[in-house]
């Protein structure tokens, strides 16, 4: 008998391509997670065997992708309402809810178990915490309920360097918490700058982003406040030995630019120039975080910092 399936079986699949399942893992978020995890892994004291480092990074990336898939499974209803997300595999019907849930669950559990078995269980526990926090705390609990969603949910995005650090050392340290804190403080101004431009999208989907709930003026105030906390915090690695001379200089100068752009967002409130200011801060915030981590990564790779 040739390979055949019943109609019911065929309907259980959305008929998605391999590319749809890759999209389900949010590859762009995955690459960011990979990059910050790599930085944590390389910046951690002691040498790690390159094969183990690679295995750790693969597990972390898969874990991040799995939580992306679970997030898309849970948020399919609101993704369908926003222009930015309406073409994702679930709202467009190429992958069924059941497929996404299975895919995400299997990869979540698999990535944690593999990381524990191959590298160490502290890193695996932190990876499980990251995935759990993103799904249960951010996606299911906070995202639709409170404008503080991204403040607390941002912790999920801030964990990866700690997971990388734990993969290398088996422990958590002050410096790894510092990497966490920088991403944690960076998240609110980054996302609120985007939310200022996309307020109507979030409004339509009923997501209580800060500009929707508290208005753009309060959002601008909060962006400025977090920026004032972030800029000095991001220079601290230069004093703990985590960052070297290059990091000290760059974090100081870029921190000033970040503050100036945040002040622009605070000051310019009307029409197209206000949108432009918010977009500028949003784009710069990505460059800022990327460069800070890239410098820490480079300084440790080339031995430009004492003690590594």
């Amino acid at each position: 008998m040739p390979l055949q399936r019943s109609r019911a079986d065929a309907a259980a699949s959305g008929g998605g391509d391999v590319a749809d399942f890759v999209a389900l893992m949010k590859p762009r978020v995955m690459s960011l997670v990979l990059f910050t995890a790599l930085t944590g892994l390389v910046a951690a004291p002691g040498a790690m065997h390159p094969v183990l480092a690679m295995a750790a990074l693969i597990c972390i990336a898969i874990g991040a992708g799995a939580s992306g898939a679970l997030n898309m499974w849970y948020d399919a209803d609101i993704d369908a309402l926003m222009t930015r997300t309406a073409r994702r595999p679930l709202p467009s019907g190429r992958i069924t809810a059941h497929e996404a849930l299975t895919f995400g669950t299997v990869l979540s559990i698999g990535s944690v178990l593999c990381l524990g078995a191959m590298v160490n269980w502290s890193a695996a526990a932190l990876l499980a915490l990251t995935i759990g926090f993103y799904i249960f705390v951010y996606t299911m609990w906070l995202k639709r309920r409170t404008p503080q969603n991204i403040v607390i949910g941002g912790a999920a995005g801030a964990f990866p360097p700690m997971v990388g650090w734990a993969a290398a050392t088996g422990a958590v340290s002050l410096d790894s918490v510092l990497l966490f804190a920088i991403i944690f403080m960076w998240t609110p101004p980054h996302f609120w700058a985007l939310a200022l431009v996309r307020t109507r999208d979030y409004e339509r989907a009923g997501i209580p982003m800060l500009p929707v709930v508290a208005g753009p003026d309060e959002t601008r105030r909060q962006i400025l406040l977090y920026s004032i906390l972030l800029a000095p915090l991001a220079t601290v690695p230069a004093f703990t030995g985590l960052g070297g001379t290059v990091y000290a200089g760059v974090s100081f100068v870029l921190g000033l630019v970040f503050l100036i752009l945040a002040a622009d967002v605070y000051r310019v409130r009307e029409g197209a120039p206000a949108d432009r200011a918010a977009k500028r801060l949003f784009s710069f915030s990505i460059f800022y975080l990327f460069l800070l981590f890239a410098i820490i990564l480079a300084e440790h790779t080339f031995g430009l910092v004492g003690g590594s």
Partner: protein, 50 residues
């Protein structure tokens, strides 16, 4: 009664691609576990007591 029907070519092609992707992923995982095992044993492989 179970009704069995042919899948159309497009669906079957995608299904086949998914199956191959899963096979490759499982193969890669097995290989990774093998290499990591060798690395973790390291020089101790030579230190067997017999």
């Amino acid at each position: 009664m179970i009704r069995v029907m042919e899948l159309d070519d497009e669906t079957r092609r995608k299904q086949r691609k998914r199956s191959i992707a899963i096979a490759l992923a499982l193969g890669a995982l097995a290989l990774l576990f093998f290499i990591v095992t060798i690395v973790r044993l390291g020089s101790n492989v030579a230190n067997r007591p017999f």
